[in-house]
Amino acid sequence: MWKCSNHLLVYCYLYDEYIQENKRFERELLKIENRLTDLGIAGKVSRLALFRNAEEMIRDEINHGVSTIVVVGNDETIRKVIDVVADNDVVLGIIPIGPANELARMMGIPEGVAACDVLSARRVEKIDLGTVNGRRFVTGVTMPNFHAEITCEDKFRVTSIARQAELEIRNLADVTDPRDGRFEAVIRAVVKKGWGIFGKAQLMESILPLSSMAIRSEKPISLFVDGEEMRSTRFDIGIEPLLLKVITGKARVF
């Protein structure tokens, strides 16, 4: 973790579309803007809109000297900017507003105006980013119906021999450290214990810390990357160590 003064740091605040459209966030936004001014970290406001490319907007701001991109929105907003922020070596800040703010919670950032003080304290952590077929993710990947073969680090294969199984790949979760250069592959298999009608189904959990993994299937299968669906017969999963600089709070989970 490194800390530096707010002096000479240029902030850009990226308001998601749903915040601008919803009147119930108006008062909260006003409070946030006032608090940011009080703390001396106010900056340019950019607004996401239906036909505006978030990445292009941010790249433009970075070219004009912005060093910190602050997302005012939720997990979905963060997903829109993750590539451009990571590629341009700028710092990501979050002011969570509204529902679906799991990422901010794990980073230890409180909702609404309270997030401004966390931003001002500027505890920057570098965290790993996962990749699926070249697409980056922060939290993880899930495959609810896991019946594919996975090859881990080109050395060994893992298959589920249970009827029902799910696969989860975690980078940032309540129980993992997103700074270790690895992700955790978790396979939950339903195993029947005991005989006949006395048998009980139990959920058994396998955990493999890995740096790369390949998933292959004869038929197209669905993966949910940070909650968003991807469908293919081949998935190559990897990790980019300490790629994302993000402002975190004391209550972060790692």
């Binding site: 939950r188 396998s206 955990i207």
Partner: protein, 132 residues
């Protein structure tokens, strides 16, 4: 299918610990730097620089190398445990064992040659025991 289990209730691998639970099969060269717990099926080779625990339900058809090992399940293959090997009452081992120290519980089944003492650590002195 698994919705009732909250994420925070899930066990996590402690400092890189690997868990191969029942319902999962691993084939190939499995190498780990941390501790490994196996309750599922493994074929190939298993190597860890940490401790290995082979649970009662485990079926391992592989040569096994670990710093220390506790075996309660089935191992078909040679076991090399640098420091200590503990065979519990439910263990079935079919293969040679090389280890620094060994503990064998009553009921444990070993079919193979046991070499221990300095041999297990790569030294010259050795004690050979043939168990059939």
């Amino acid at each position: 299918m698994f919705k009732n289990k909250h994420k925070s209730d899930m066990p996590s691998s402690v400092s890189g610990e690997t868990i191969i639970a029942q319902g999962v099969r691993v084939e190939g060269d499995f190498h780990s730097q941390g501790d490994v717990v196996i309750d599922g099926e493994v074929a190939g080779t298993v190597e860890t620089q940490g401790a290995l625990v082979v649970g009662e339900t485990a079926k391992i058809h592989a040569d096994v190398k670990a710093k220390s090992a506790v075996v309660a399940g089935e191992v078909v293959g040679n076991i090399f445990a640098t420091e200590m090997l503990e065979l519990l009452a439910t263990s079935h081992v079919k293969g040679d064992i090389v280890t620094g120290r060994i503990s064998v519980a009553a009921g444990a089944q070993v079919n193979g040659r046991v070499s221990m003492g300095e041999e297990g650590k790569g030294g010259k002195g050795k004690v050979d025991v043939e168990v059939l």
